[in-house]
Amino acid sequence: MGPLVILVARRIALGLLLLLAVSVLIFIGTQILPGDVAQSILGQSATPTALANLRRDLGLDDPAWLRYFRWLFGVLTGDLGQSLANGQDIATEIGHRLGNTLFLAFWAAVVAVPLAILLGLVAVRFRNRWPDKLISGVTLASISLPEFFIGYVLIFLFGVKLQLFPSVATVHDGMSLLEKLNAIALPVAVLTLVVLAHMMRMTRAAILNVMQSAYIETAELKGLSAFKVIFRHAFPNAISPIVNVVMINLAYLVVGVVVVEVIFVYPGMGQYLVDHVAKRDVPVVQATGLIFAAVYIVLNLVADVVAIVSNPRLRHPK
């Protein structure tokens, strides 16, 4: 077990280092322009004295590295500062919205992951025949379609014409789970369609890779049915690459949520981020940007750890 633990620990340490570096990068990203926060609060007509006073109050006169460490320390202790636009505490606002965003991403994952794996298996079973070709065609289309096209087509068809689901996904605490699920049906469908294709294709590739092994041939020669060969013999050995792909797509899901939330006016983190970018509300943008990046990095980290742990060659090194 020794080398495995070391490998995993090293990967996690690298991930933490990466998170730190990303926080620096996000901080630098908002410091590119000489124009500053004080100017954007007071507007162009502000007097120089008023600007100087506000700069001093906000601590903007301090060098950039000092402001960075102050911000980082705040983030680590759960203090994300106040929004410039409305003076609200960012941490409280985010706490509420992060839950909503994860709720949406979670249900999208619950639908998309099993569906993608199942369709991947079907594509392998009928490889190079019409179900496989249909699936590759849909894949090509789905990487070319912007989220908002899928989103508005679904709203137009199921929300407006057929009136099956609400076209605006409003959720609040007073709703039961079933009501909430009904409200997020369309956004979940969009997110599912966006990540489905890639996961399906990679599942197909992973299983096809395993299908070339000698033991698969043995299983086929024994006279097992095609589905049994795939399910019992190929699939278990393809789990590790599949889990990897699933995690990478979940990471993408958390980012894809930004656009989907705007389409469906869903009260989540993405909507919050986009609104405040337009308002040039730097503290909010820094905080939400960091959280999005962190979730993305952590999910990628989990993917790597799973790949390490599930690889028998690393578990029993020579």
Binding site: L18, V22, G29, T30, L33, F148, V259, V262
Partner: protein, 271 residues
Amino acid sequence: MRIPVSALVGLVLTGGFFLMAVFAPWVAPYGMAEIVGDVWEPASAEHWLGTDNIGRDLLSRIIFGGRTTIVIASLATMLSFSLGAILGFSAAVAGGWVDQAMSRLNDLIMSIPTLIFALVVLSVMPVTLPVLILVMGLLDSTRVFRLSRAVAVDINVMDFVEAARLRGEGRLWIIFREILPNALSPLVAEMGLRFIFAVLFLSTLSFLGLGVQPPASDWGGMVKENKDGIVFGIGAALWPAAAISALAISVNLVADWVLNRTSDLKGGRGG
């Protein structure tokens, strides 16, 4: 050389879109910002796709919007390519700690989702066309860097590069005269994919209100302008969104074909 049907369709459509972008003022039946009717008129003989949210001809807007989308996406792709390829080749040729430092920095930037990073930067930068092109090009050049470095590392150890080194050629000669011509075919295939990414990325930014600013408009911006009609059953926003999808699919079909062709020529000169 036989061209498969799918690639042919892709080529014709892509060519059509580019021609439309070039000749927009001659093709479009009405002006870009010309108000010619009521709000959201249905399709008719005068207005093939109806009118938009303030009564402009939707088809004309789509033709002019396509020009904006295609021009900005092309410029961003060119920027990301020249920057990413030159830096990628340099890293591969330089090797050692220079290569390590550049590659790790690249990994770092790639570890932040592109959209999130762009939003962070756009929260402090003024949203103008040069800034948009710069942000899109710079962020996307990380992908080109990774590919061109990988390709160049393989070429860098070949005998003809070694020969050039021994006869005392400088780094610039090696990058532009030895590596670039041999790395061109995988990069060209990638260019199509990067262009699609630029189109989708620009459309997304404009859709979020952080891309092309009104009254000028690209396809993503037009979706934003007309999206409020959707809940009343008015499909005006679907047309520009469909145009984005059609452009992306046709370029994809061409890129797929180029990619298949170049990967068939394993070890060849990649003509």
